[in-house]
Amino acid sequence: MLFATPLLLEQETAMKHRPSLTLLAAAVLATVSGWAQADTGKLLLTGGVSTIAGSAGGGLTPWAVIGSNATEGEVGVSAYATRAATQDYSLNGYGVALGLHERLELSLARQDFDASPALALNGIAPFGVAPGQHLKMDVLGVKLRVAGDAVLDSDSWMPQIAVGLEHKRVHPGSIGSVLDFLGTQTSGTDVYVSATKLLLAQSVLVNGTLRYTNANQNGLLGFGSAAPGKNRRSLQPEFSVAYLINKHLAVGAEYRFKPNNLQALGAAAGLGAALREDDWKDLFIAWAPSKNLSLTLAYVDLGRIVPGITNNRRQTGYYLSAQVAF
């Protein structure tokens, strides 16, 4: 139980906001603790950490690695809890991932986004947004490794390649009327291809992901837009680079391009750039004190998120995530 103390700390932090998170984490731990004896055999940190959408990767972008500690011939599971907070918003998330034979990954994630600033939208039109409204989103992920070995093929440039999808469904509560006004759908599916390569001799990991998506702010503001906004999906690249300081510690950066589907609609409604969406960036440090636990701390820059109700501020802040894996 080397991992118990930090995890409980993270649970306590999150508990104030979501009592069910603690229950879920406890249930997952109880379930997987029996599996720990299975002695799964992936090298430290080579399963990545948990992304905000539940699949294995960096923090903001999925990688081609398959989650959990399971390698070929093994089945593994991981669970995570994440909290991120910026000037005007905060996000709690948790989820589980199942890794099958280092080939197939199934993941399930829940996000709870504190959208309190949306109350100001009632000043634009009678949307009926409730004070302190949260947006919740469920993400079902599937990822299949199709070629390569990110870690062991160190004499070649061939990366590990995976294809994946993230099916998302947002539960907007009283913000639903706003999403209706914007003409966005409340569910959508991103598909992506990822290529991950560990340049072992240099201790550097690189990842490139190409995502086909029409999600607004990762789906929290729905999918697509009424005209003249952009309703169709577009290709958005995402990049991660990490340097392994030692077996237990990695530092890195990510850059995720985002579509800007809603801005044109906002401009046509006389709101200028009030609905602009920016690219996401982060600088992270990941620490894996054991094979069963990793903690990730990041500085995130999410750009502007509905700048019309947040004084045009860039949303920067912290991201903290704990993952247990077996």
């Binding site: 090298l43 070929e72 004499d155 440039w157 390569k197 579509p259």
Partner: protein, 152 residues
């Protein structure tokens, strides 16, 4: 998203994705010993100590010790020392059997291979070999997974 950005992104992504395998596999430059690695491992005496600690750990490891029950540790240490010495750029010659035939009759999964890597990492830690140098050696050894792992 503008078109030029899409194209640049595609070019980068596809350039990474579809590198021709022939170029990938035949890259002799990546297989040659990196400069200074032999020295970083402490030359022949250092590698001898490293393999001594490594084999002592391997035979006791509950995950993979069983694979070595019919092997004489002293002979294995000597053979591995020659192999690592040569690989890392030292003046040695490995004259043992090739990796494929040595492991052909064994049940070796990727989990076993990874366990072996972990044991080697802890042996290198014990010798005080810096992490970056450890990875330079591991980069020479990891491709052997193609010949060592018999059960895919």
């Amino acid at each position: 998203m503008t078109h030029p950005r899409t194209l640049i992104a595609l070019a980068i992504a596809l350039g990474g994705l579809w590198a021709p395998p022939a170029f990938a596999q035949g890259s002799a430059a990546m297989a040659t010993a990196p400069a200074g690695l032999y020295q970083a491992l402490g030359e022949k005496p250092g590698i001898t100590r490293l393999m001594d600690g490594f084999v002592n750990r391997v035979v006791k490891d509950p995950r993979i010790g069983g694979h070595f029950k019919d092997v004489k540790p002293a002979a294995l240490k000597e053979s591995l020392t020659d192999q690592i010495c040569q690989l890392s750029g030292g003046p040695c010659k490995y004259e043992g059997a090739d990796m494929k035939s040595v492991h052909a009759d064994m049940d070796i999964h990727k989990g076993h291979f990874n366990a072996l890597v972990e044991v080697l990492q802890s042996a290198m830690d014990a010798e005080g070999i810096p992490f970056a140098q450890q990875n330079r050696l591991l980069a020479l050894l990891a491709p052997m997974h193609r010949d060592v792992i018999t059960k895919r």
